[in-house]
Amino acid sequence: MAKIPFTLEVLKWRPWVPAVKLEEADEAQMNALKAAGAVTRDSPYFRTLAHAPEALSARMALYNDIVYSREGLSRAEREFSMFAVSRVNGCVYCAAIHGRRFIELGGSADVINALLASDDTSELEPRLAAIFEFARKITVQPESVGPEDHEALQRVGLSEAECLDLLHATSMFSWANTLMMTLGDYEVATV
């Protein structure tokens, strides 16, 4: 894995294996790539996952529900939580994308830049700090999560549904980061 520091620059991900070529994709692979939105918009990542198309299709139904749902936890806070997991896991590529998305959705660029430089949340406003710390705990000490973590989130105003959405989004990013970091590498995109 390229050892570049955390960044908000646009990065390019390259697989360590040959990806499926669109013109050679069979029906199952094309269906999976369509579910991933990766036919009109090229994605070496999804073309790599398309080697196991049934797995990709099943994954996209769950992923899209968790990441893009308009109910419960706001899109911005969802992106923040996915950024947080990526920061904790050291997935530079995912942290860049989801940090940018949080900012595009109205989140503070100063907050993201500060967290890219240091993952200390002590100066962060309480709700984002609680979300980041939950993301950290579910990532590095999941076996210790329990009712006290629920209380911590409720104290900053998360509803039951928002807590559940946060759990699924942060857990899903363990899945996403693991694939990104172990199937390929990334570099700064050049024009």
Binding site: A55, L56, C91, T139, P142, P147, S171, T182
Partner: protein, 156 residues
């Protein structure tokens, strides 16, 4: 979770006692339906074709769950493995175990040579990606199960 509930929700079979799964599923039914569908597709697909065998899938899931760690989930996958496989572990599984440990414990240290080692041992691209997806899925599943304990009531 009762045995009947566990059959209907395979993804939640390793859920701790004292968690009202139905209440949480009712909050997000689409999510939990898609979650169960992934569990079935990844661990017990109807047709493995030229991909990983059912035994290999259960082995991969078992090892990944042990490492997250989620002991209850690991026990569930070990039972699934024992149901489809008896006797010695194939030599390829030793290689799988090494790769799984890297994926779960130190993914940031992954390199192309890790992937090349599996391909050199005869693992196909399809099997490699299936293995990666199963491991990564289990890291999600193990965490959701741990996290659902946020709603755990005292077990009497």
């Amino acid at each position: 979770m009762t045995e009947v509930e566990a059959m209907v929700h395979p993804a939640l079979r390793a859920l701790d006692e004292g968690v009202d799964a139905e209440a949480l599923i009712a909050m997000r039914p689409k999510t939990y339906a898609a979650f169960d569908a992934v569990d079935d597709a990844y661990v017990r697909p109807a047709d493995v074709a030229d991909g990983l065998s059912l035994a290999a899938r259960a082995f991969v899931a078992w090892k990944a769950a042990e490492l997250v760690p989620n002991a209850r989930l690991a026990a569930v996958f070990k039972q699934e493995l024992d149901a489809v496989h008896a006797g010695d572990e194939p030599a390829a599984w030793v290689l799988f175990a090494k790769h799984i440990a890297m994926m779960v414990k130190s993914p940031a240290a992954a390199s192309k040579s890790d992937v090349d080692a599996l391909l050199a041992a005869g693992v196909s691209l399809k099997q490699l990606v299936e293995l990666a997806q199963i491991v990564a899925y289990v890291t999600y599943q193990a965490r959701v199960l741990h996290g659902m304990r946020m709603w755990q009531k005292e077990v009497r």
